[in-house]
């Protein structure tokens, strides 16, 4: 059995490219560039709750970093560093090697240095903190939306939730749609390039982790505005065209969560710049609604009638 120190040395000590001191000491040392603010995000993933107990560890490694990089993307930040703390029921080397592989491959892709962490024994729990840089004052926050802004989302929404619903036997999907949905659930792609491209363009931004209605709701609450979303305009999974107005599909798209797409608001005059930023980032973006005076989020159908949702978003204590 490998010791804690051997585990760390073997799997979690990759080379770093922009770190003063990583690993092997009481703390890591990094240098934040002059004029930049440090952007800090953290997420905790629990086995059997945030991922299936039998989930591929490579995917768990990917996702545990991806959800944090998605948070940095939603601030318009450049990812730079991460720490990784992990509690494991046993020192299962096969699991750990595959987990580390998924985590570190994504880290390399975004030039993120793994600078430290902790390993211990316990029920499976992964806690990642990601740190990035943004020019002082340039971060895209939730509180900048203004009446008259257009509401945009990147990519398509609902696939990850469809994968979970399928897994729970709540709906049938064609095999190809299942594979695609599982890919979206297990391998979310943080929209870092889009986030960077929207600095100076968008007014407010958030990543969609709890579902469009809940997360757009956070923008509205922090900005003191309302949003009206056109259901017809929301970018849906390909399978949606065959399922029509299935309430479960609608629930997945609007409130499923785990999308890790960006939702942002921008003045109508910036529409061209939004599309250019998306094109440069290689990500699709879609106008889905508008910011108005007031509070709360309303989703309306083609006839302008408000849709009812079972719940607004995911809450770990409800």
């Amino acid at each position: 059995v490998l010791s804690e120190f051997e585990l760390i040395a073997r799997y979690f000590t990759p080379p770093t490219t922009h770190t003063v001191l990583a690993g092997g000491d009481d703390a890591a040392l990094v240098h934040v560039a002059p004029g930049m603010e440090l952007v800090v995000s953290t997420d905790m993933l629990v086995g059997g709750r945030h991922f299936f107990d039998d989930a591929d560890p490579y995917g768990v490694g990917h996702k545990s970093l991806a959800v944090n990089l998605s948070d940095l993307a939603a601030m318009g930040a450049t990812p730079r560093w991460a720490t990784l703390s992990i509690a494991l029921p046993a020192a299962d080397q096969t699991w750990i090697a595959s987990f580390a592989d998924g985590f570190l491959r994504l880290a390399r892709l975004f030039d993120v240095d793994l600078i430290g962490g902790d390993t211990t024994r316990g029920p499976l729990n992964i806690c990642v903190q990601a740190m990035g840089e943004v020019p002082a004052g340039a971060a895209l926050r939730r509180d900048g939306a203004q009446a008259g802004d257009e509401v945009w989302v990147s990519g398509t929404l609902g696939e990850a939730a469809l994968a979970v619903a399928h897994r729970h036997g709540q709906l049938e999907l064609p095999a190809q749609a299942v594979a695609h949905a599982r890919e979206r659930l297990d391998f979310p792609q943080p929209r870092v390039a889009l986030g960077l491209g929207l600095r100076g363009v968008a007014h407010a931004m958030i990543d969609i982790s709890d579902g469009l209605v809940a997360d757009l709701g956070h923008i509205c609450e922090r900005s003191g505005v309302a949003a009206v979303v056109q259901w017809e305009a929301v970018p849906k999974p390909a399978v949606a065209s065959r399922r029509g107005e299935d309430p479960l599909l609608r629930q997945c798209v609007l409130a499923g969560g785990d999308d890790y797409e960006l939702c942002f608001t921008a003045p109508a005059s910036r529409g061209r710049q939004v599309l250019d930023a998306a094109s440069a980032a290689g990500v699709s973006v879609t106008r889905v609604g508008r910011i108005e005076a007031g509070a709360s989020v309303t989703v309306v159908d083609a006839a302008g009638h408000a849709l009812q949702l079972e719940r607004g978003g995911y809450d770990h204590f409800r």
Copy 2:
């Protein structure tokens, strides 16, 4: 039942004094002062492993931050910010309120802003990341020890391990000694002021979390040196004088861990400055040995004979 958002709002959103944006967004924003390096430490505490399942939540809150501040202290850093991620079996408000109280009281004491975190449901797990600042190049690392240096430790060693041994029924202690040992186990005091005072004085430093022999061993390994420790000189719990050469007592002092005292090396010519720094910080310090050429740590008795230890330090996977 409070929701995740209500929990965070009620218990984990204290005022901040030196943070651009804390909480309520995808990530926090902070500004690292020019000329300073960011110092980053993280520790994960698992219920039933790092603290007893029935531990007072106020103490758990204290300790989960204290162990991270101890890491910053061991770098000679000034603590500045922390994030807190926590998995809870249920939204037990009494537990959470007391936990938050212990955590935030210590945070205020060291002027640490709680800038973000995550709450979720799961087996009890607390993951804290602490961040601090140190002038570029001034951090006290593990790799700076030199042959001829004296080895010092702060405070006394072994009390926390005695408390655990008592709890496990491995030894009897007078009631007052139990209370004192429990205080040391549950409320470690990070030696921040001492760490700051030793910048430019000590050559290498570490905090004692795994036991003196193991942690001094890390300094030796990283510095490419050996250390010889005089057992007679090691500052022991008051109860030790009555227990003589009890092997369990010796094990607790040298390899028990959870001390959160500082172990550091400094040239003999700096002895006066070490004592002055300790005096200014209000912490006792004791010379316990010397750095030599070679590798590994040896503990010798008054006759110069090497002591045998059962194990060198705590390892979560052995």
